[in-house]
């Protein structure tokens, strides 16, 4: 794009790929409809030459109709392109759009919260992307999206808007980022990013940002690979596989009951061989389920690797930028003032490995669902600044990327001594999946037991009697499996509760607060005092008897706010914390 003399009224247009790339999708959809609708006619044309003429006529008319519709789409796209432009005014950014219903979006520079870029594979090939400008606009805030902007223009727009924002705020603060050369760690998939950077896409152009980068890092091969393998899909796949096998077992057992019933009536000796066949098919089904899960896991791991391929996180002045995606490209950025919390998260698997995920919580905006799609889940958890990092290195990375969070509180205040007992009761009984699973199974078993004798009495012949007895035997086996599962879950609940009571803590100093919620997984949130919107101390009668309380700090992170809570803090500690939330108690 030509950076000719800039005036507040200069109208900047998006790239012309808005017209043809944008209409491409619609035209492809149209072609698909054409194929589906006229496919039948076409076949009849081939099958019955006598009907050729009317069929051909209808085909041609459908074709003409489609061409007209496609032309209308392109013309509409062209018209809306003509009316889509933005201006960078004195105090605000304006986006104009709409052919008939004119729409104008104003964004005062001071209200800009973050500027993200997102490019689909197709957009990336042509070097364009969608820029979304996010303003913290309350609960249902939507990001303003500028589609089909060339990479160069997007970068230029970013730096323009941020420069103006800084001018508006007259922020003379210089970045206090710890200096030192950007560390260069890389991985194999970064080659893809380098290729993209060199090729850039057809219309990408290049733009150099004036603000220097003070800290930068990528992912090593090992980190990328392990991040992929240990992602959430992996855990979900394992769970689903176990459940699937259990379900399959149950299904086979119930089949066997039915089969066996039939067999008893016909020929008792045949049931043995049938049982062998069933066990063979059972092994096959289990193998199939595990195979499918393995494939899902591998696909998930690859998808996650591709997602984090070309990962770069960097500090540029007051901004933190994260770039990732081998095929679909995403560039997320947030100003340090807008970071609501720094989150260190360890899932169960990652905790075993001693690794964690670092992310920054920010006020999230609703993106356009059609544009972001799958990446929506990513935005909801803030910005991931490192997907897989050794826990011991977390402080090093954080002090490089967000030195502002350097002096997080160091003296954690543990939970009340009563927390262990209360936690065991809460996690293992009230919220304990294993406990309720066992209770439901017991109730079901009682019902089944109550029903079977009645069939015995009604049963007119011995064969039905036998059937009922075998049914009872198999239900007992199924219930035994359920009880074992419930016991396993229960043990996990107990371990989780003990780890929760031992590991959870909170801490605060003059500027920051830190809340750690442990358990099988573990999450630590660091957030500045000024990001706490309000603080609450809650107690229920049992907590009052045990002299404990729940503390809740509410921040504006995520969509419409996040509550960071810690249950069963000692009463005096909670009271002291609430005093700390009060503004005068600095």
């Amino acid at each position: 794009m030509e950076q000719a003399p800039h005036t507040p009224d200069t109208r900047y247009r998006v790239h012309n790929s808005y017209i043809w790339l944008g209409s491409l999708g619609a035209v492809i959809a149209l072609l698909f409809v054409l194929l589906v609708t006229s496919g039948g006619t076409f076949i009849s044309l081939l099958a019955d030459p006598a009907e050729a003429l009317p069929a051909a006529i209808s085909l041609i008319s459908v074709g003409v109709f489609m061409v007209v519709v496609a032309a209308i789409i392109v013309v509409m796209r062209l018209l809306s392109y003509k009316h889509l432009y933005f201006t960078i005014g004195q105090d605000e950014f304006n986006l104009f759009s709409g052919i008939f219903n004119k729409q104008r979006v104003h964004i005062p520079y001071a209200r800009i919260q973050s500027i993200d870029q997102h490019a689909t594979l197709l957009q990336r090939i042509f070097g364009v992307c969608t820029v979304s400008i996010d303003t913290a606009g309350g609960a249902s805030n939507k990001a303003v999206q500028i589609p089909y902007v060339t990479k160069q223009q997007a970068e230029w727009l970013r730096s323009q808007l941020f420069a103006r924002k800084m001018q508006m705020e007259q922020a003379t603060t210089t970045a206090s980022a710890a200096g030192g050369a950007p560390t260069q760690s890389g991985n194999v998939l970064d080659v893809g990013k380098q290729v993209w950077d060199e090729v850039g896409g057809v219309f990408a152009g290049s733009y150099q940002d004036a603000v220097p980068v003070t800290y930068e890092y990528g992912l090593t091969n090992k980190e990328l690979l392990l991040a992929g393998i240990s992602n959430n899909t992996a855990f979900a796949a394992i769970i689903v596989a176990i459940l699937g096998v259990v379900g399959e077992l149950m299904g086979v057992f119930s089949d066997q009951i039915a089969d066996e019933g039939a067999l008893i009536i016909n020929d008792v000796s045949a049931s043995l061989s049938a049982g062998q066949i069933i066990s063979g098919s059972l092994a096959g089904a289990c193998a199939l389920i595990f195979g499918v899960m393995l494939i899902i896991w591998i696909v998930g791991a690859i998808a996650s690797c591709v997602n984090y391929g070309g990962f770069r996180a960097r500090r540029r002045g007051p901004r933190i930028e994260v770039e990732r995606g081998l095929l679909q490209h995403t560039l997320q950025g947030v100003n340090i003032d807008r970071v609501q919390a720094v989150v260190i998260k360890q899932t169960f698997i990652r905790r075993l490995l001693g690794y964690c995920e670092l992310s920054l919580a920010r006020i999230d905006a609703q993106g356009d669902p059609s544009e972001s799609g799958q990446s929506n889940q990513q935005t909801q958890q803030g910005i991931v600044i490192h997907p897989f990092l050794k826990l011991s290195r977390a402080n090093e990375v954080l002090s490089g990327l967000v030195p502002e969070y350097r002096d997080v509180p160091q003296e954690p205040i543990a939970l009340s001594p009563k927390a262990l007992r209360r936690g065991l009761i809460r996690r293992c009984i009230w919220q304990g999946g294993g406990f309720w699973c066992a209770v439901c199974a017991a109730i079901l078993q009682i019902i089944v037991r109550a029903l079977i004798p009645s069939t015995l009495e009604v049963g007119p012949t011995d064969t039905v009697n036998q059937l009922a007895i075998s049914t009872g035997g198999f239900t007992d086996v199924i219930f035994a499996i359920i009880y074992i599962l419930a016991l396993i879950i229960f043990i996990f609940d107990i371990v989780g509760a003990i780890m929760w009571a031992r590991g959870s803590s909170f801490a605060y100093n003059h500027r920051f607060m830190q809340v750690t919620n442990a358990g099988l997984s573990r999450q630590t949130m660091n957030f500045p005092r000024q990001k706490i919107q309000y603080g609450t101390v809650r107690t229920n009668p049992l907590q009052r008897a045990a002299k404990t309380a729940t503390i809740q700090a509410r921040t504006a992170a995520g969509m419409g706010g996040t509550t960071i809570a810690l249950i069963d803090v000692a009463e005096e500690a909670a009271s002291a914390w609430l005093d700390w939330v009060r503004p005068h108690a600095r």
Partner: protein, 163 residues
């Protein structure tokens, strides 16, 4: 726990709560009671309908006693607030007690609301909204509510910071 906030709501709020709850109880009672009454009227031989009607009546009577006689005074005693120069302090709740501190530098906007029942008693409620949720102080005399809102708005404006 620290000493409670000093201010209490206007005593008339108890009547507002009573009328409000009474309306909902009557609506709920009518919805639950009428179908069985129709059954009893149309088919007198269905004796169970009378029993159900009696149970519904007893349940709603108990609910009415709870919501109209017992709860409002307790709720009134427990609901306290205090407005200092820097923050809003709220203590409320009967079983689940809550103590909330809202610093005014976080307040985005404040407004007064008034429903028809509240208007009849000359009361209003003040809502203090932050970037992550809002808090309502119900049942203040109209003049007091205006003063409180203006004060909250002014303090919020003075202490305005970025989110």
């Amino acid at each position: 726990m620290r000493e409670l906030p000093v201010n209490q709501l206007d005593p008339k709020i108890k009547s507002v709560w009573r009328i409000n709850d009474a309306i909902w109880i009557v609506i709920g009672f009518v919805i639950c009671f009428i179908p069985f009454a129709i059954v009893a009227a149309v088919a007198p031989e269905e004796s169970w309908a009378i029993g159900v009607m009696a149970i519904v009546a007893i349940v709603f009577a108990a609910l009415a006693i709870l919501c109209i006689v017992i709860l409002p005074p307790i709720r009134y005693v427990r609901w306290r607030y205090q407005l200092t120069d820097d923050f809003l302090d709220i203590a409320k709740g009967i079983i689940w007690k809550q103590r909330i501190i809202v610093p005014f530098i976080r307040v985005q906007n404040t407004d007064t609301r008034q429903g028809p029942i509240m208007r009849a008693f000359g009361l209003a409620s003040v809502t203090v909204a932050t970037a992550a949720g809002e808090h309502e102080i119900p049942g203040l005399a109209m003049s007091e509510a205006e003063v409180l809102r203006d004060k909250a708005a002014e303090l919020a404006r003075i202490a305005r910071e970025d989110v």
